[in-house]
Point group: C2
Chain length 392, copies 2
């Protein structure tokens, strides 16, 4: 099978060449002079870096406007990435299932699969992962294009550079060298990252963060997460913790959080917090977040009040991020957006009231997040590693 042969090296051997390719990937098609302008590299450096990328098929030169075939290297012709040139696999691991996608080089999903986990033991999860990867490699054969790498996203404390899951509460893992283990079972380069940071990479390279040097992605759902891009780079934290907007404590009289503090944003606005509060306020034994949402959508005033308080907590958390970092944009996403109509106004009002001065000028957007987007985020980290040659 072609797709299981060893991956090829990406023909960009300098940081400048990686930067040029990334620029075309996020902003293309671009002419060479536009690339030079955006990267602040010389026209000669751009021309030199672009040639082997065209020769290897990663960049395509567009046909000139008069319809003639392009003269190779003619500076006025725009170049763009050939998304079909390489495939990647992205996997999101939760405590219950694996969600996997096969994407092209432009991070467009070609195939999506998921499988339930029968056990959370690393050995068992790795066996399920290997089987799922094999399935996707077979699919990849149909495209006649090689899979160049795998990205795996896990919630919790993940050391991407070491390839190690330091602590994942949902998987109940501590210090699992996941990149190395998954690399051995699949034979492909593996990048492991925290799930929210992986999603942030996808937004930075392919989504609402393109072209922004400073933005935040806030995910609302089972947890309340936050990915931060500052000065053009994803913030990882000196000790592995960053973006913990869920544990910004906004009310010392608020509900107790799993972390031991009171009034964390997550203790007020996560799915499980909302379920617990709806049960307490309404007396209805709602089974899960979907049932709580139904009750609120049916007009139950107690349930609606719980969502309103959740929105206020999220808005105050976002204002804290804006007051400290002053991002250009905050993107709110996550499964919790299913309830957005119930708390959009409270998010907006609380953010507006708590944002300090011109921090309120920050552009707050929402983006739907189908669950396979988490796996797509993982694929984005694999694409990033492939281009910058940093996978395990």
């Amino acid at each position: 099978m072609r797709s299981t042969s060893p991956p090829e090296a990406f023909p960009a051997h300098t940081p400048a060449a990686s930067q040029i390719f990334t620029t075309v990937l996020s902003h293309g098609p671009l002419t060479r002079s536009e690339i030079a302008g955006r990267t602040r590299l010389s026209a000669a450096a751009v021309t030199k870096a672009v040639r082997p990328l065209i020769e290897a098929g990663y960049l395509l030169e567009d046909v000139a406007e008069d319809g003639r075939q392009p003269a190779l290297g003619r500076p006025a012709n725009p170049v763009r990435v050939d998304g079909g040139r390489a495939l990647f696999i992205g996997i999101k691991m939760t405590g219950d299932e694996l969600i996997a996608v096969l994407t092209d080089l432009c991070c467009r999903i070609r195939v999506a699969r998921h499988v339930s986990l029968t056990s959370r033991a690393p050995r068992s999860v790795l066996a399920s992962t290997a089987a799922l990867v094999q399935e996707l490699l077979t699919e990849a054969d149909g495209f006649g294009v090689r899979v160049q790498g795998i990205g795996i996203a896990v919630s919790g404390d993940v050391d991407r550079s070491a390839g190690v899951v330091r602590y994942s509460p949902f998987l109940e893992w501590r210090d699992v060298p996941l990149a190395e283990l998954a690399g051995m079972t699949t034979g492909l380069p593996v990048t492991v990252d925290n799930d929210v940071r992986a999603l942030t990479v996808a937004e930075q390279w392919f989504g609402a963060g393109v072209g922004l040097s400073d933005f935040a992605l806030v995910t609302v759902g089972a947890g309340i997460g936050c990915g931060l891009v500052v000065h053009g780079q994803v913030v990882a934290g000196a000790h592995g913790v960053a973006g913990e907007i869920g544990h910004v404590a906004i009310d010392p009289a608020g509900p107790l959080c799993d972390c031991g503090n009171r009034g964390c944003v997550e203790a007020i606005a996560s799915d499980s917090a909302i379920v617990a509060q709806v049960r307490e306020v309404t007396g209805v034994r709602v089974a899960d977040a979907a049932a709580a949402l139904d009750l609120a959508h049916d007009g139950d005033p107690g349930a609606r009040e719980v969502y309103a308080r959740a929105g206020e907590a999220i808005g105050r958390g976002i204002a804290t991020v804006a007051n400290l970092l002053g991002p250009e944009r905050v993107i709110i996403s996550g499964e919790g957006l299913a309830a957005y109509d119930l708390f959009a106004e409270q998010i907006r009002d609380a953010f507006g009231a708590a944002a300090f001065g011109s921090a309120a000028m920050c552009d707050v957007q929402t983006r739907p997040l189908p669950f396979e987007e988490w796996a797509r985020g993982a694929a984005a980290t694999a694409i990033q590693s492939f281009i910058t040659s940093e996978a395990h």
Copy 2:
């Protein structure tokens, strides 16, 4: 007068040369190969950049260990910055006075002066500034070295790249093009920056932030400020607001803040907040922060309780910074440290309780801050502009 002749250009004409000089300034003495290692530049590039800096007297080559005169360019000889090669003026503007320092190129204070302001009108403040600068230029003549630039630090919303004070509540200024105006009256290049960010530059280049890519400086006193360095650069905020730890709202039932919200860190822990709370709790009409501090130091339990609450608020604000950004170090400084014995324990405890997971591993330090340090911070921005050629 030599010092009022036009400033000379710094002989580092490329970003790499600026980076090399900055590296020696913060970490020197260093050998050329140590410089190459730290900057990830080639040995040839370092040798090429170092030569004109030695020739112009900005770098000195140390005598070899055997006591012989150094052979110029011998790679094993360490080089260091000659601090006495250039002088800079740093000015901190408050609503009441100007504090100014004359520093050398290594940001060591040579002379300090201050003058009271009779009016806050820009014209009047500029006249006082020009007179103070003239005094310091006369002092500089005594050193026989030229003053190469002026840094001015102002609290509030300052756009450094435009050289404009957008809004300064203490000075009651809006949109004052201070860099241009002060440049005209003094004939020297002027850098204008927010006071906390200026102090952060001083810590990054010459203080407790040297060698750290991610740290925070928290200033406690009339206000509660925070300078952030992320990925090696000071965070300025897309809309001019960043580091507003003073307006992190930690208690919706807390005291009303000037910003309109309740329970901001500044509404609990700033000098004026402490004075107001001590008056309320003790019934004693303390005149100012010093009187409140005396009362607490005399053992008044109500006053001590106010300081304890202030410490808790500061600790929770610092934990919020740590949870979002995961800095390697947080440096607490400011005039408010005079009360540090009254709230050190509460800062530590509240930080430890509210920091999430390994974010608690962040190194929290204190640094005394004599008031002229604010002016030294301004001088640091002038040194930075001189080296990177970005002053107005």
